[in-house]
């Protein structure tokens, strides 16, 4: 039998704090509609939000690609921006290069990437300085979910 896979693409604009978070709200809506359990939805919402906000805070623009299959959910956030020089350092809790203006808004706590790591089953970050960053996240629900 053919496996059903659902896919969506959403654009994210850098520095657009007015609309920041809307893409993750859409992701959450989709998951609720498909009937995923609340704990799974919470994990995805946190990971999606932090990845989206990193594009808003640190990059020029990006795209969030969401794929849902019965066994797993994958979110790939690809951006055009400054890239990350030292990914291991960026993963450390509290490390942030956010500007004072951004910190004043309550962003730049350096908790984004660590929080993503805590909530996903697999995380892969690839980055080229001066070009951009790809954050690839895999999240598995506690039980296989049939849909469609």
């Amino acid at each position: 039998m053919e496996e059903k896979v659902l896919e969506w693409d959403y654009e994210i604009n850098g520095k657009d704090f007015r609309n920041a978070g809307k893409v993750s709200s859409k992701v959450k809506e989709i998951l609720k509609e498909l009937g995923f359990d609340p704990d799974f939805v919470r994990r995805v919402a946190i990971a999606s939000y932090e990845a989206e906000m990193n594009v808003v805070c640190h990059a020029e623009r990006g795209v969030l690609h969401l794929t849902i299959s019965p066994e797993e959910l994958r979110i790939v956030v690809k951006d055009k921006g400054p890239g990350i020089q030292d990914i291991e350092l960026a993963m450390q809790e509290g490390y942030s290069t956010a500007s004072p203006e951004i910190r004043e808004m309550g962003f730049g706590a350096g908790m984004g990437l660590p929080n993503i790591k805590k909530n996903v089953d697999k995380l892969n970050i690839a980055s080229t300085v001066g070009e951009g960053t790809v954050v690839d996240m895999l999240i598995k629900p506690s039980s296989i979910r049939e849909f469609g």
């Binding site: 978070g21 959450k28 919470r42 309550g106 908790m111 929080n115």
Partner: protein
Amino acid sequence: MKLTRIVEELKLTVKAAQGGLDREVRGGYASDLLSDVMANSREGDIWVTIQGHPNIVAIATLRDLAGIILANGRQPDADTLQRAEEEGVPILCSSLPTFEVVGRLYRLGIYGQG
């Protein structure tokens, strides 16, 4: 406890989403760091903060929070109010500092984690 009761007891000014005041409040969280709220708040919490920009509405929606109290006389941005109306997230204002707001919530039986 319903949000309406908290509005009355703490004499909060309702700035947006009047229609959402019927919501049950299950607990509370206080922080001005957005990633912290995202990671550590729970569904049904009332969130006390001094951040008034639109992204607080995104957090409340994503975490299913009951509402947001802006402490210390902070006022929400116009964009925040518009987005809060759209998403149905009550924005409530108090002239009291965060510590006082949380103390009064606690006295009403609204607790944090643990």
